[in-house]
């Protein structure tokens, strides 16, 4: 059998998987940051909306969220734009971003709240604005504190982006199962795929570990040997 062909197919899938993971993570970070700020430092309607969003996402399966965006949303849009077609990869990416945002918001909220109020008072007493405090005092420390949770989130996205196969997104698991059913080499292909996930998960963990060491500040983070 032609392993060159199989590996080629898997490489294409891997590329999509890595895209989903990386872009999903970054998009989730941007939105999650806003949600965390709204939930931690605002009040009224913006806080209520942030809480509602976070709990909605965390309280429902990611697969359901992907289905709603991949199958439900296009139907809705087509009522107004009859020729609209949803690209499944875009749909999956959107779903992963929206999902990750809720989790990242909670990690960030935890990290924000772990900065003692004394430092905030010191910053206020210097005359800093709320935004300056977030930017210069809270975020640089929260960022370091939440790195381990971020590592988890990235590894999680790497693995759970495989749910996108159910929207026919040509990511790693999808390409694997298509190639397997064409070649009947189920065991071999799935073993290779397991290896690929494992290698990239380990890579992420080790890379993030280097980052942790690099930006470690005594008194802010502790490094476990």
């Amino acid at each position: 059998m032609d392993y060159g062909f199989i590996l080629g197919q898997l490489a294409k899938g891997l590329e999509v998987t890595l895209e989903l993971t990386l872009l999903g993570f970054l998009g989730g970070f941007a939105l999650g940051f806003l949600l965390a700020i709204a939930r931690t430092y605002s009040g009224g309607i913006s806080k209520a909306l942030a809480v509602a969003y976070i709990e909605l996402i965390r309280g429902t399966p990611m697969l359901l969220q992907l289905y709603i965006i991949g199958f439900g949303l296009p139907l809705l849009i087509r009522k107004y734009l009859p020729n609209f077609v949803m690209n499944p990869t875009i749909a999956a990416l959107l779903g992963i971003m929206l999902n990750s945002a809720a989790y990242q918001a909670e990690y960030m909220r935890g990290a924000f709240n772990s900065i003692e109020s004394g430092q905030i008072e010191a910053a206020l007493s210097l005359g800093m604005t709320r935004w300056e405090i977030i930017r210069h005092v809270v975020f640089p420390q929260a960022f370091r504190i939440m790195l381990p949770s971020w590592t988890n989130e990235m590894v999680y996205l790497l693995k759970y982006s495989s749910l996108a196969m159910l929207l026919a997104v040509p990511e790693l698991m999808y390409m694997a199962s298509v190639t397997a059913s064409e070649t009947f080499l189920y065991a071999q292909i799935y073993l290779i795929v397991a290896g690929i996930y494992l290698v990239f998960a380990t890579l992420i963990i080790q890379l993030m570990r280097l980052v942790e060491l690099k930006i470690h500040i005594p008194g802010v983070t502790t490094i476990k040997r």
């Binding site: 004394g118 010191a122 007493s125 210097l126 008194g219």
Partner: protein, 253 residues
């Protein structure tokens, strides 16, 4: 001679604050003149910290007036951040920014709040750190790598670097061993000699005797007794003052 409002950096009139049902400040009035060091003593829960925190509005008082350099601090249309930038605050637990080195902790105010360039801020910060006698090899260390005394001196430098009109100290040495407290008190005594205006909550009687122009004894949310340091500390008139001074004398024996 009654203080003229010209020379008063800070005037507090009839300040009141309740937390729920509990009255913490019950009509406090006094002034602090430019160049003066005023010391506040009093038992735990008397409202000393609350008073300091009302001055820069970390806590909103319910009633009364705070006049800083002729500005009504409690007025709605005052930009409180501009006021805070001119009032130094030194906390019991230092409250340094943990992710910044000693030098960066002192630079951040001039840089972020006053908008100075990195070079200008650095010059001011180095000068301030020298004024508190921070050892040069500690400039680049993080708070967690400094002793408590060093941390508190950096916190004082952080306040000084803003070139404030007054510095408020809330029990700056209570979290320190006597020896480390000594190095912080020495710095504060020097500042008093240099006529830096200070309002200091402390139980350090030695500092009050050595550096204060006046001592206020706080009790039950009021100024219970006030006077010249020697007069008030050696010859208190009221029972509560005597009892309090006896207690802290016992502790320091």
């Amino acid at each position: 001679m009654p203080p003229t409002s010209e020379s008063d950096v800070l005037i507090i009139r009839n300040l009141k604050k309740k937390f729920g049902e509990k009255t913490v400040l019950n009509g406090v009035s006094f002034g602090v003149k430019r160049g003066e060091t005023k010391v506040i003593i009093g038992p735990s829960g008397a409202g000393k910290s609350t008073l300091l925190r009302c001055i820069n509005r970390l806590v909103e008082p319910d009633e009364g007036e705070v006049i800083f350099d002729g500005i009504n601090v409690l007025s709605k249309d005052v930009d409180i951040r501009k006021i805070r930038a001119r009032i130094g605050f030194v906390f019991q637990h230092f409250n340094l920014f943990k992710h910044l080195t000693a030098l960066e902790n002192v630079k951040i105010g001039p840089k972020v709040v006053k908008g100075l360039s990195d070079d200008e801020a650095e010059k001011i910060a180095v000068k301030a750190l020298k004024a508190v006698h921070l050892e040069e090899d500690a400039f680049e260390k993080y708070p967690a790598e400094l002793s408590g005394g060093q941390q508190q001196r950096v916190a004082i430098a952080r306040a000084l670097a803003m070139e404030p009109d007054i510095i408020l100290f809330d029990e700056p040495t209570s979290a320190l061993d006597p020896q480390l407290a000594g190095e912080v008190l020495d710095v504060m005594k020097e500042l008093a000699k240099k006529k830096v205006t200070m309002l200091v909550v402390t139980h350090e009687i030695g500092f009050a005797l050595n550096a204060a122009d006046e001592v206020l004894f706080f009790y039950n949310g009021r100024i219970w007794e006030r006077g010249e340091p020697r007069e008030l500390l050696y010859n208190p008139k009221r029972e509560e003052t005597k009892a309090f001074l006896r207690r802290i004398a016992d502790l320091s024996l």
